[in-house]
Each structure stands twice: as structure tokens, then as C-alpha cells.
Amino acid sequence: MAADLPDADHRAGSSNRHPTTARDAAARGAAGLRGQPTPSEVIAGLRATSQGEDLVQLLSPEGTLTPHRDFPIDVSGQLLRGMYRDMVLVRRFDREGNALQRQGQLNIWVPLLGQEAAQIGAGRAMRPKDMAFPSYREHGIAWCRGIDPTQLLGIFRGTDHCGWDPKATRFNCYTIVIGNQVLNATGYAMGQRLDGAIGTSAADGEDSNEATIVFFGDGATSQGDVHEGMVFAAAFDAPIVFYCQNNQWAISEPVGKQSRVPLWERSTGYGFPGVRVDGNDVVACLAVTRWALEECRSGNGPVMIEAFTYRMDAHTTSDDPTRYRLADEEQHWKLLDPIERVRVHLSRQGLADQDFFDSVNAEADALAARFRAHCIAMPTPPPERMFAHVYSEPHAQLDQQQRAYLGYLASFDDGPTVAATSAGSAGGSR
């Protein structure tokens, strides 16, 4: 299926794409590991481990690299080593985040374990001028955008809502309301089109074109904002890649609760192409996302990508997946690990030696130590911080509240007790 994606007539929608019978569904791979699905399973959607025949994969779980005719890519040893390093480092600080929560240094951590390839592949496909809108699990995308991992900590320690400059880094703040960012990203991409930042000829220099990429999960696809984002993006030909990381679980709800059809197929209904890529294959994620972003930069957006992956850890450190899913499912996905297949390929092809792997591990440990030390040293912000940047312009009412509250706090200082300010002006009064 993926073969005909870039075709113009595909964009207009094509027939025979939806499984209407159990046999059709089985032919698509819906049977997963255990033969024919029941009709109810077809209706309920694909099982978590069903990848389907449309999956774009270049690097197999066994470490075999096979070119894909629709998504050509030069894969050098340097590229593979770089992506391996990215994934190992991101996984290492992600694990440290879990540990810091368990030790009381973070209120919560949102693990990305298992989704390293989906994020490093997509993140590396971006150019500096492209804009990214993350959800809240995109630590790997942040890494690729040059956000230091320590800048992610404030959100989860409770010292800030966003520890980086989203404008300068072109990586928006984490967005926690599910699906909200899809509309914000679509608006940004509409602005890129209004600015004429897409579709200029190569003579103008290829770097003058831009695109937007937005990240969301399988659960988010049920949100109205995601639907509206796709409708608006189609209506305004916005240069946006809708990058859905289908990690199979929205906290406790399997993807079958969200959709009867594979998520990538939804793009057809909006009139733009969709691709399902092996989200545990960093090479495929890079190749497909590069293609999709270039489609957008050249004026052929939007594009949807479904990165088919798996959330190997809990939804957050507050979650307990043993209440809703079986360990054998996690074991199955462990065999599809995104990092291991790169390591195997590098070793088998002689593209990296033991010194390389040792040095990456040492670098990862050093990063984790720095991450940890930074976290523990993070101070609680001063109380006046909560009044900062509510507005961009002066706001007398808020200034008065801040003055009153700081005066109230000062009244606890040693020395003669001083009334805060005028009567009733402490606390929440304005």
C-alpha cells in the first residue's frame, strides 16, 4: 500500500482500503500472532501486536537492513552510530527520570521507554527551521532539538511549566491537554503557508522552506481537536506532518477503544496521505519523516504518519500497567526493541566495535549523573515567580495582588509584626 502513497490520485482518496470482512482484516495482518480474528476483534480494531502488511520497515528486529523503494535513504555507519548514541542516551536519562521519581526528587515522570526510535528518527528528520509541537512524552524529540535533558526536569519536579524557550528552539512547550497542540501546530503551519515559507524553488535555496510536525498518541486520535486539526490543515493546505506515535495504550485503554481502523488510514478521510511506519525502526522513522516533511516544505502537505510502537513502561510513574495488560505482550515487544536491532546491525556489519559501545555507555552514565545532580539541586522558585508572565503587558490588578501577598509573607519575618497592607488584601483578595 505504501508504494502508491505519493501518487496524486491517492491524495484524492482510493477504494478498497477498509477491512470490511474478517478475511480482509486477516489479509491486512489483523490476525496478529494467532490466526483468524473473530468478527468482534475486527470491529474492535487491531490487536496491539498486529503490524499489518502496510508497515514500512527498513531495519528488521533481527538487524537486517533492506532498502525501501518508496523511502530511499543513504544509511552510513556514521548515521547509524549517531542514532544509536541518541537512543541510548535518551533511554538512559529516561530511566534516571523514573528513579528520581521513586526517590522523591520528581513528582512524576513520563517514560518514553520503547519509543526511542519513533522519536529519534522523526527528530533527526527535522531541519533547524522546522517547528515541532510535542505532547508530553517527547523527550527524544527534545533531545534532537537541542533541549538539554535537564531542561525537562522542571515540569516534573514542579518548578516550572516549561524549562526551555519554545520560540528559540522551535520546540513548543509540552502540552498536557490531550490533542490541544494539534490545532496549535496546524495554526502555526497555516502561518508558514501565509508567510510563503513553503514551495519555493531550489534556486532560492532549499533551506528557505519550512514545515511543522506535531506529535500525539493513539489516544489523542479520539479527541475533537485532532480531527479539527486535520480538517483545518486540509482546508488550508498546511505544511504539517501529523506524527502519531501509536504506542498501543492510552493509560489503560488499548488502541482498539479508539479506532476500528488502523490509525494511519484515517488520513484518507481528510484527503491527505498516511503512512504506517515501524516505530521501533529508527531508520524507517527517519526516512519516512524526511519524506513527509519534504512533502510539506514543497507544498504537498499535510501528511500523516503512524509510528507503530509500544509503550514499554507505564503511562507515568503514577500508573500500574499490571492492572490492565499481560506481561507476555511486553515480552513480545521486547524482541522488537528499537536499540538492540541497531546494535546488532552495527556489530554484524563491522560498523562499530566494542570501544564504541563502551564509550556510549560511559557517556550515558555521565549524562545520567549530571541529570540527577541537576535535579536534586533545583531550587523551589521564589513566591513572586507565580505572578510572572501571566500577561505580556502591565496588569495593575495582578501587581496589587503580588504586592499584597509579598507583604503578607513579610509579616511573618522576625521583628515587629506589620500589617500586610490594607484590610483584607492578603491571600486571594485582589
Binding site: 513548543n172 512547550c173 490545532l183 496549535n184 502555526y188 501565509l194 475533537g224 481537536d225 480538517v231 483545518f232
Partner: protein, 333 residues
């Protein structure tokens, strides 16, 4: 000064046009705002004159309108988004509360949110359900938003221009049943300083001086206050009238000064009274001017019910008699 008085709708149209002429980043977006010129014709002719890249007819989705306006603002645009009717804003409420109001705070000032959300509000036009609501209090409760309501043609023009020039998000309420009422309009180019910051947008104003009772309101109820002041004067009572204009933040200064003079305050609004602007004004005047009050702050407001069928809306809405009755009660205290 325009040669003859203009309607509130026309003044808004002129304000939009002037803002778009001044700044190419100002764009208008919403349902039917382009070719049709908006269901109230506030955007009439703008798409024809500025192009469909400046005046965007959007798909019919309010969350989509607000949510994409956020992204456009991040990109450097100054979107003026129209919500077609007050009762249709709720699908966009999540984006307003979760993103529009919080993006600047979350990003520690990296993103400004110069978005204006225009909402025709209030009843009195015999409309079907969801076309006559007064939802302004919802937005006043949200830190990060500014909320204003205009009542005259001059304010419609000045306040809209100031709201568009403001780097904060402004929820801009327009009194839909006053759209066709005319008033004088001075739209002469002002100095650069006053053009970007006319005082009208974020301040309250005394519309009529008086000595016995202060009556404060905003938007569509203001003409009722003028009639009440005339009627009261005939009975020898002097009302001081305040147009609040800025609903969040409230500009309390003129209200407090007036109450310290009259000792009596009546607050008028179409919105249900529970957790409302009228409630907030009563609380704050009590906090700040308790010893000046000769009577409790009284309210003429909507009932705590869904907006009624239009054949009953005259029962629901503030009117001359209800205001005069409240004035009587304040004086009798």
C-alpha cells in the same frame, strides 16, 4: 469625525479595517467572515479588499478557530477570531482556557498571545436557543485573559483597535442587540502613542454624573441605564452611571470614587447572578468601601436559569422598571 453617526457594527468594521491597514500581521478568521461579511456584517467587505489570505473563512469548528489562532499568534500574526454567537463559544472554551490564557505563562513570556476573540453577546433579539447568552463571567475567571465589552460606536472602534494592538489575549464582547444603534465616531488618525493604547479598552468610564445612586453596567444594558437616569431625574433622583467596559481586570477606581460619593450601588447585567461580574463587583466594593455604603450593593441580573425561550426573554432581561425598582430599594434602605 465621520460625517454622520455610524452603527456599532459599522464602527467595528472600521476598526478592523484600520487595524488591518496599519499592520499586515492582523488577520481576521471565523465562520462566514469572508464572502458573507459575517452574519452581522461586522467583517463586511474586508475579504474583498484585503484578500482571502487576510480574511479566512474557516471550517465550522470553534475549537479549530481558537486553536489555530494560537498557532498563528506563535507564528507572529495577530488573529482576530470571530465566534458567530455567544452560545457557540463553548466548543472553543478548552483552547481559550488551556492554551490562549496559559501559553504566555507556561512559556515564561517566550510566546505572546495577541489574539482578539470577538463574541456578539446578550439577548433581546428574539433568537432561538444558544443565540442570546451572556457568558462573560466564565472568561473573567481565567487568569491570562483580558475581557472587555463595548457599548457605543466610538468605544467599539477605539476598544477594538486597542484590543488588537494589545499583546495579551482579549475576549471582546459586542452588544449584539445594539449593533444597529448609531453614535458619533471620531476615527481621525491619532498619534502613534494613543493609537496603540487608547484608554477606552481597559478602563471604566462615568457616563453621567449624579449624587444619589451609582448604577454600573456594561454592553447592551447601558441604554437602559440612560433611560433610568432620565426617569429618576423626573422624580428628583440623581443617578451616576458607570460603563465598566473592562470586565477583567475590573477598573474599580471610578466605581469606588462614585460609591464614596453616593453611598449606594446598583449593578446591572444580563448574566446569571451566581459567581458573576455583578457578584464580584459587590464583593469588592464591600471590601474596599464598606464604610461608605449606606445600603447593600443591589443587583439587577439574569436569573440562575438557562436562557429562556424568546417570548419570555423580556421577563429575564434587565429593563427600566427593574433598574428603577433597585434604585428605589437602595434609596429606601
Amino acid at each position: 469625525m465621520t460625517a454622520s453617526p455610524v452603527t456599532v457594527a459599522k464602527a467595528l468594521n472600521m476598526g478592523l479595517r484600520a487595524a488591518m491597514e496599519d499592520d499586515p500581521k492582523v488577520i481576521v478568521m471565523g465562520e462566514d467572515v469572508g464572502r458573507l461579511g459575517g452574519v452581522f456584517r461586522v467583517t463586511d467587505g474586508l475579504q474583498k479588499d484585503f484578500g482571502d489570505h487576510r480574511v479566512l473563512d474557516t471550517p465550522l469548528a470553534e475549537s479549530g478557530i481558537i486553536g489555530t489562532a494560537v498557532g498563528l499568534a506563535m507564528r507572529g500574526y495577530r488573529p482576530v477570531a470571530e465566534i458567530q454567537f455567544d452560545g457557540f463559544v463553548y466548543p472553543g472554551f478548552d483552547q481559550i482556557v488551556s492554551q490562549v490564557a496559559k501559553v504566555t505563562y507556561r512559556s515564561q513570556g517566550a510566546w505572546a498571545m495577541p489574539i482578539v476573540i470577538r463574541i456578539p453577546f446578550g439577548g433581546g433579539i428574539g433568537a432561538v436557543e444558544h443565540h442570546a447568552e451572556a457568558p462573560e463571567s466564565f472568561f473573567c475567571h481565567i487568569g491570562g485573559l483580558r475581557v472587555v465589552a463595548c457599548s457605543t460606536a466610538q468605544d467599539a472602534y477605539d476598544m477594538l483597535r486597542a484590543a488588537i494592538a494589545c499583546n495579551d489575549p482579549v475576549v471582546f464582547f459586542e452588544p449584539k442587540r445594539r449593533y444597529w444603534e448609531k453614535g458619533p465616531l471620531d476615527d481621525e488618525p491619532r498619534s502613534a502613542a494613543t493609537r496603540t493604547r487608547p484608554p477606552a479598552c481597559f478602563s471604566s468610564v462615568i457616563r453621567r454624573f449624579g449624587t444619589d445612586v451609582t448604577v454600573a453596567s456594561y454592553g447592551p444594558s447601558m441604554p437602559i441605564l440612560y433611560a433610568a437616569a432620565e426617569a429618576a431625574a423626573a422624580e428628583g433622583r440623581s443617578l451616576e452611571l458607570i460603563d465598566l467596559r473592562s470586565l477583567s481586570p475590573l477598573d474599580l477606581g471610578p466605581v469606588l470614587a462614585s460609591v464614596r460619593k453616593t453611598g449606594r450601588l446598583v449593578v446591572v447585567s444580563e448574566a446569571p447572578r451566581e459567581s458573576s461580574i455583578t457578584a464580584d463587583l459587590a464583593a469588592r466594593v464591600t471590601e474596599e468601601a464598606f464604610y461608605s455604603l449606606a445600603a447593600p450593593v443591589l443587583r439587577v441580573a439574569g436569573f440562575d436559569i438557562p436562557y429562556p425561550p424568546s417570548r419570555l426573554e423580556e421577563e429575564y432581561l434587565p429593563d427600566l422598571d427593574k433598574v428603577l425598582d433597585a434604585v428605589d430599594r437602595a434609596m429606601a434602605f
